[in-house]
């Protein structure tokens, strides 16, 4: 009797899950750029989407410092994430930011040391090194996990399973059906904006042509 009940329950749950799977979708696309060598490293993101109420304590984002350079140059993180700042260089660095989204100053610290910062407010955080004027980078603090960074061919997928997995962000469902505003951000490209409709029948694909210029703010 209990075995039969269990089988029926599992079948019912499976049935329930089918429409949910079908009613969620991802966004894929391709970027082409004019005035830049590569369409890589363009941040493509959904401006308004459900957030992620997940435990971010095991999520690891890293902004490295090596050969007088921040690596990566642009690091998108989910709001509430902690970023590690190892100094893998041969000289001391002093990471700081005076951006309104996050003000901090890690002070001067020696090679081989790591410091961490919690990013708890969405927006663009411009990083600087107090003693090396050439060093700058951006931490993009995202409101929701629906973003992607374009690859060398300009392709992207939102949500980006590879990026999320690499940083230990789990449990990000596809987007529920509806209309979404998609924007782009790249340091040297004019921000493009597009409204796309996620139908719930799998992937929604589109193409973006970007031109050289200044990007806009992350969220208006």
């Amino acid at each position: 009797m209990s075995h039969q009940f269990l089988t029926i329950s599992i079948a019912f749950l499976l049935l329930l899950s089918v429409p949910f799977q079908a009613l969620a979708g991802s966004i894929t696309g391709k970027i082409s750029v004019k005035g830049l060598r590569s369409p890589a490293n363009v941040l493509v993101y959904v401006t308004k989407a459900p957030g992620l109420s997940a435990d971010l304590s095991n999520v690891k984002f890293t902004m490295d410092q090596k050969n007088l350079t921040f690596v990566p140059h642009i690091l998108p993180v989910l709001v509430g994430s902690t970023v590690h700042f190892p100094n893998d260089d041969q000289v001391a660095h002093n990471v700081f930011s005076l951006s309104r989204a996050k003000k901090f100053n890690l002070g001067s610290y020696k090679p081989g040391t790591t410091k961490t910062v919690l990013f708890d407010k969405p927006g663009i955080v411009e990083l600087r090194c107090d003693v090396h004027a050439e060093m700058s980078a951006y931490i993009m603090v995202m409101k929701n996990p629906y973003w992607a960074v374009s690859d060398a061919k300009g392709s992207f997928k939102i949500p980006d399973p590879v990026y999320l997995d690499q940083h230990g962000i789990k449990g990000v469902p596809d987007l529920p059906p509806g209309k979404y505003v998609i924007k782009t951000w790249h340091e040297k490209l004019k921000t493009a904006k597009k409204v796309v409709e996620v139908s719930g029948k799998g992937e929604t694909a589109f193409r973006l042509d970007l031109k050289r210029g200044n990007p806009s703010v992350l969220y208006k």
Partner: protein
């Protein structure tokens, strides 16, 4: 079969050869194969004594050259130095102390060590001393001098703008082009060379003519030369100097041999023909105060009202004696005041000029290229951590520095038919006010707001750029009257003329430069034709090395530098 046999033989030979190489490395390199070839290091204590002809020397700094760790000697001149040197072999141990020549002693580990003997630097400045040409220094310090030679520091006496301002000329060498110090003061030579050609000033006096210095075959006279700076023993307050401080030199050869006295920040340099002497002044911002502050003492009984321009703490920080002094260039005091007001635990506490203006640049990498170079590498090279090296590029007011000196953020809000724009401008990387130095410099904020069709929106409220930001076509850099703001120090004469040269100035009309790590918030309002429309705001921060009216008069081909730009 034969092929198999040959292969087996080859493999065996290869194995024997590899083993032989490994054993050789282990034997000669004293490596531990069980630890994967890592050199065995064990903390060793070296004990010894630093003495002079007068007896033991206290507070001498002792170290293995190039290492971070050092020991200080006690009253008996004794030291105990911890090091990770492997046992066996001979090693150099150096000692240095302010006012004494550095010296070295060779020691074996383990084993007794002889005393390190230091000779005093007697105060014996010789006015007739001829400074060494930078060309000589370049034969060993190839990279250091190469970067110095590319810097403004190396060409202060041949700076065409300085010459035009002194003689009243323009780039076409036309005479009588105002402003010109000699045009206004035909009887006075001025004292520009005190800072612009200090080697010549030290040798010939500060009234020496700048043109004759340029025509001189003495290459050491052009710019601020290596030997000049490295002969500075002390920096003292000296109101007879244009900057109010003066460098006390020690121009002499060493006691023994023909070595040349060279002051520097290292206590472990013992490398003839340099007779190196440790001097902590070289790691101190005070060193830069010799020239990077400039005041004007107003004529008798004249004064001005600083309270109209500066807060009381700012005025106090500028360290003018009283209100008869006009602060012209105050980079050092700006930095000093910022540092003084920081709480003791602030991450910026202790930052000094050398940290930013003598830091590493990407183009210098890999680090080893710069560490020891040229002849020095072959002869006396000491491996030194890049952390302890100060590249001599002296970047300041250059594109590299300006690009990150300020940061900007935009915020907009649409209410009905109105767009409120807020611009936040922060002095992120400047440890002094920005722009600093010569008051002919300015930074301009240019704000353009337009609707989705590209039509410029009308500003209802907010500041505009002044006419001196340029009148005429904005495409040609004339921004006067456009929405924005300007950050500059304006010198004024008694007739009320702005942007006058320092020798004519009688007051500071305004000083809107951005203080270190501070944010300036500017608010603007624009009229929206269509409340449903989505407008765009574009803001640029532009550095202008010379204000337009002066650049026009002098026909200087100065170019603006875009510091940063943002879009909302």
């Amino acid at each position: 079969m034969e092929v198999d046999n040959m292969m087996t033989k080859k493999t065996a030979l290869l194995a024997i050869f590899s083993l032989a190489i490994l054993l050789t490395i282990v034997y000669f390199g004293k490596m531990d194969p069980a630890r994967g070839g890592v050199r065995e290091t064990r903390e060793t204590k070296i004990q010894g004594r630093v003495v002079s002809q007068y007896g033991p020397l206290e507070n001498a700094r002792v170290r293995v050259p190039g290492e971070d760790r050092y020991a200080l000697t006690d009253r008996q001149g004794m030291f105990e130095l911890s090091t990770n040197l492997p046992p066996g072999g001979k090693f150099r141990i150096t000692a240095g102390k302010e006012g004494w020549f550095n010296n070295v002693q060779i020691t074996s580990l383990p084993g007794p060590m002889g005393d390190i003997f230091l000779n005093p630097v007697y105060l014996n400045d010789r006015a007739g001393y001829r400074f060494i040409s930078p060309v000589t220094c370049a034969s060993c310090h190839v990279e250091l001098t190469r970067y110095w030679d590319r810097s403004k520091m190396a060409h202060t006496s041949s700076n065409p703008m300085v010459l035009d301002m002194l003689y009243g000329t323009d780039p076409f060498n036309r005479q009588g082009i105002q402003p010109g110090y000699r045009l206004d003061n035909p009887e006075s030579g001025g004292n520009c060379i005190t800072c612009h050609a200090p080697s010549a000033a030290a040798a010939e006096g500060q009234s020496r003519d700048l043109k004759t210095i340029l025509q001189s075959p003495m290459t050491e006279w052009d710019g601020i030369s290596c030997d000049y700076c490295h002969k500075v023993r002390k920096v003292l307050t000296d109101r007879t100097k244009p900057s109010g401080t003066g460098a006390i030199l020690e121009r002499q050869t060493a006691e023994r041999g023909s070595s040349i006295l060279v002051f520097g920040p290292y206590d472990d340099v013992v490398a003839p023909p340099m007779a190196a002497s440790y001097n902590p002044l070289f790691a101190d911002a005070k060193f830069c105060s010799t020239c990077h502050n400039h005041f004007r003492k107003l004529d008798r009984k004249q004064s001005w009202e600083p309270a109209k321009v500066y807060t009381s703490s700012e005025w106090e920080g500028l360290k003018m004696e009283d209100e008869s002094f006009l602060p012209i260039q105050t980079t050092f005091q700006e930095w000093q005041q910022w540092q003084r007001e920081l709480p003791y635990n602030d991450a910026n506490k202790g930052k000094k000029c050398q940290d930013c203006h003598m830091g590493w640049r990407k183009e210098m990498l890999p680090y080893d290229n710069y560490v020891v170079d040229g002849m020095a590498r072959r002869m006396w090279g000491t491996y030194r951590s890049p952390q302890d090296i100060r590249p001599h590029h002296f970047d300041g007011g250059t594109e590299i520095q300006l690009k990150t000196a300020l940061s900007m953020e935009l915020e907009g809000e649409i209410t009905g038919k109105k767009l409120d724009m807020t611009v936040y401008i922060t002095n992120t990387n400047g440890g002094h006010w920005v722009p600093t130095g010569e008051p002919m410099r300015s930074v301009m904020l240019l704000l353009r707001v337009f609707d989705s069709k590209g039509n410029t929106l009308r500003m209802i409220k907010g500041s505009k750029l002044p006419p001196w930001a340029g009148e005429g076509n904005p495409e040609q850099g004339n921004y006067g009257g456009l929405p924005g703001a300007v950050f500059a120090k304006i010198l004024q004469d008694k007739e009320g003329n702005n942007h006058v040269p320092f020798w004519r100035a009688t007051r500071i009309a305004s000083d809107t430069r951005i203080r270190p790590k501070k944010t300036v918030t500017l608010r603007f309002e624009f009229a929206l034709n269509d409340p449903e429309d989505e407008p765009t705001a574009e803001a640029e921060l532009i550095y202008r090395p010379v204000v337009r009216p002066l650049a026009k008069k002098k026909q200087w081909p100065v170019k603006d530098i875009l510091m940063t730009s943002k879009v909302w």
